[in-house]
Symmetry: C2
Subunit: 129 residues, 2 copies
DNA sequence: GGCGGTGTACTATGTGATATAGTACAGTTA
DNA sequence: TAACTGTACTATATCACATAGTACACCGCC
């Protein structure tokens, strides 16, 4: 059974959207460390995607340290690991910079951006959308 | 003459990297409204890319409202326009959400993220890297 | 009027990522 | 043994990206 939500969009590859959905599910607590992750075949059937695409998702998540594979058994959500220096820099410099550039481009104030982060930190469901 | 800086990387398309570099140059004030933007042929020669790729850059920037084309003359950096509701939401919801998800995944605290935004808002050059 | 510059629109080619279908294998549980 | 797991293949089709080259309408300058 699939225990996270997906809504496919155009513009980015399917496997990438699923990977992000899983990251988000973990960040929100929908998926917790130790939870069983859907099998490749189950995922491909439920989401109606190719088994290879589903396998690609698992591969990515394993490589990023969010999933552990028990050979013959399946995969399990792994413990959150603290960021390495590189990962930390990538977020706190590059990704933050991108947010700032986009905000400035559209004349959004620093306060509005910080407020958005502060009030969305818990990642509760937004209504509408 | 090219008046912004680029350093090509793997992983994302050339035209996208240039578009972002221009956005950043505008955000930092390196490029100001009214400044003449390099021509397609000049850009393709200086950056050693195909004229079509350079044309793609101009097309994107025009579509996003950062460049104005004077037919027969060239293109010019246009005035910053305030964000539409959709653009504002895309940043303040989607892009902020992505930053939060990535941060939580790597156990980076909300305070660290907000501090990074606060102290990088001026977009001064970082040393090293 | 003509030259040289501008953005833009074509055709065409090659490469790589993405998604699909199908098959196969080693490992583990029941 | 039977049924499940992730993984690794071959093969095909499509699309984005980057390249090369040509062409056109437009404008400023001499």
């Amino acid at each position: 059974m699939i225990n996270f939500t997906i809504k496919f969009q155009y513009g980015s590859p399917i496997y990438e959207q699923i990977v992000y959905a899983v990251k988000k599910a973990i960040a929100t607590g929908q998926l917790k460390a130790g939870d069983k992750f859907p099998s490749v075949r189950e995922m491909s059937k439920d989401l109606r995607i190719n088994p290879n695409t589903a396998g690609k998702v698992v591969g990515h998540l394993v490589r990023e340290g969010m999933l552990e594979v028990r050979p013959g058994i399946g995969s399990v959500v792994s413990q959150l690991s603290p960021a390495s220096k590189d990962q930390r820099n990538k977020i706190l410099n590059d990704q933050v910079e991108e947010l700032i550039v986009e905000s400035k481009r559209l004349s959004i104030s620093k306060e509005d951006v910080i407020n958005a982060i502060d009030s969305n930190w818990s990642l509760k469901e937004r209504k509408g959308k």
